[in-house]
């Protein structure tokens, strides 16, 4: 018996498998995207340790172009002679913190609401859907602008506004996913074995819903970074002198005819970050979102 199974195993190992191996395509673009994201995160974390002059003090003549020789002047100077590299790096902190914190908060609140609504159904579900519909009735940037008209701009108020933006998206996603999973046999089995609502939600449904929703997180973060950039571009985001990418574009745009690097360097940084997050999101969704495969 044992020798036989060994022999079978040996043959199987030599022969080609009956089903061709699933070829996992490793795109160079996806690898580059993750590389860029890790670089931005690392640089943002190490911003205070790097040998850079502070983002608030001038390092030379204003509006110098990018040049070799000095780290501070590598990407040139802005309209007030401050290092663009230092401002890009400190701006990364704002964008990443805002994107990550608001994204995660919205993820947690939205998933909780959506799962409860989808699982419990009835009146509570109608209420959840109504709240989500109402929040989605405001075009995103308009909601942020409305909030910024009454709240003084700061990182905290920005976080509140951006979180409000994300909650309905995740509520809808979580609700749809929970509805699909709640109808499955293993949930019924758990219920028949006497599991309570809390146990079914946390142990049976949540582990299945989480990967699909988490895969949307990078895309949501990209949208949040764009929203923060738009607001800062309009001068209603992070108040100066704290640098933000959108604010840097706004500062430079009046001098774009003669000094295009003032605009194009922060624009390129935002583009690369948003592009990388979108690529990472597509990659994760293809792996974890079952609805894309069916």
């Amino acid at each position: 018996m044992t020798t036989q199974s060994h022999a079978v195993a040996g043959v199987a190992a030599q022969a080609e498998p009956a089903v061709p191996r699933v070829r996992r395509t490793r795109s160079i673009l996806v690898a580059l995207a993750y590389g860029w994201l890790f670089t931005v995160i690392a640089v943002a974390l190490l911003a205070d340790v790097l040998p850079l002059t502070s983002y608030a003090t001038p390092v030379g003549f204003p509006r110098q172009g990018p040049q070799w020789g000095s780290l501070d002047l590598l990407l040139g100077t802005d309209t007030q002679g401050r290092s663009i590299l230092a401002r890009c790096i400190h701006g990364a902190r704002v964008s990443l913190v805002v994107g990550a914190v608001a994204g995660l908060l919205g993820f947690v609140i939205g998933t909780t609401l959506g799962m409860l609504g989808g699982y419990l159904g009835g009146r509570f579900d109608s209420l959840v859907r109504l709240i989500a519909d109402t929040m989605l009735a405001f075009p995103p940037l308009i909601l942020l602008l409305a909030l910024s008209s009454i709240l003084t701009p700061s990182v905290r108020t920005l976080l509140v506004g951006l979180t409000l933006l994300v909650v309905p998206t995740f509520t809808r996603l979580a609700r749809a996913n929970t509805l699909a999973w709640s109808a499955r046999e293993f949930v019924l089995a758990a219920r028949n074995m006497g599991a309570g609502h809390r146990r079914i939600l946390l142990k049976e449904i949540l582990p299945n819903v989480l990967p699909a929703l988490g895969a949307y997180l990078p895309i949501v973060m990209a949208a949040l970074i764009v929203a923060e950039g738009s607001l800062s571009f309009l001068g209603l985001g992070i108040p100066p002198p704290t640098p933000s990418w959108g604010g840097m574009i706004s500062d430079g745009k009046d001098a774009i005819a003669d000094f295009p690097h003032l605009v194009f360097i922060p624009a390129l940084v935002i583009f690369l970050t948003v592009f990388s997050l979108n690529q990472a999101g597509d990659h994760l969704r293809q792996r974890f979102d079952r609805t894309l495969h069916d």
Partner: protein, 317 residues
Amino acid sequence: MVLPVLSRIGRSLLVVLLVTMAVVLLMSLAPGSAAEVILGEAATPEAVAALNAKLGLDQPLWAQYLNWLGDAVRGDLGESPVTGQPVTEAIVERLPVTLQLAVMALLLALVVSVLLAVASAVRPNSLVDRAINAVSSVFLSVPAFIAGPLLIYVFALQLGWFPVTGWSRLSDGIGPNLLGALLPAIAIALTEIAAFHRVLRADLIGTLREDFVGAARAKGMSGAYVMLRHALRPSSFSLVTLAGINLGRLIGGTVIVESLFALPGLGQLLATSIVTRDVVTVQGVVAFIAVVYVGVNTAVDLSYRLIDPRIRKVATA
């Protein structure tokens, strides 16, 4: 047939009520009172009290909301305490600019994305498809506040094909009007082109695998005819829905390009009102935009029901 339509409309009306309630509530959310926000920190308590009484802010919240709603239904959104202009008048004055921008951007996005999606779906994963996908994912990551300055630099400053800023009215001739609106419209259309292309490409590829497409081909119909007459229409429903939903992002985009290109539209009105702390105008404009947005999406939902025979059948069954 009638019942689901009525319930959809009823639901939208409920959302509109909640939206306006939220907007009116916004006024009371301001730290201190809206009057203090409008008058600034240096205002005397008497002036604040007077303005509060004038705006009706000394009344309980529900009374404030009912007053506001009663006036709004009759087309009166209040009077700006900063400029003295009725808010409705300001909206009507600036609406054409924003409307033209949004319509141009939407049309541009639809035309370009349909062309790209058809070119993609003819042979999925071919070189052409992959090239278009690459362009599409680049476009998806270019928000209006990046596309705007880039377009200005290349097409207005370097090539000199377009005016840098400014707006000429439609009544002053259609040529200069379109010329001034084209760059801003492109700036907000880029992201939508990418989003639309993705959805339509996936749907087209799915439809082209269906039996009736095979049957049409077997009858000897040309590839182009099958693509345009048989495949495109049933594939375009998610595109229509997405266009309605993404209108929200488009409206946000108009705020950006209107302030960048100095166009006298609703978005610019909103941005300047926020800077001058004109809460009444902000309230009116935000409520107006949100209600229009809900209306458009309800209309899209309903038209979807009416156009697609399959949904109609399910609804009557």
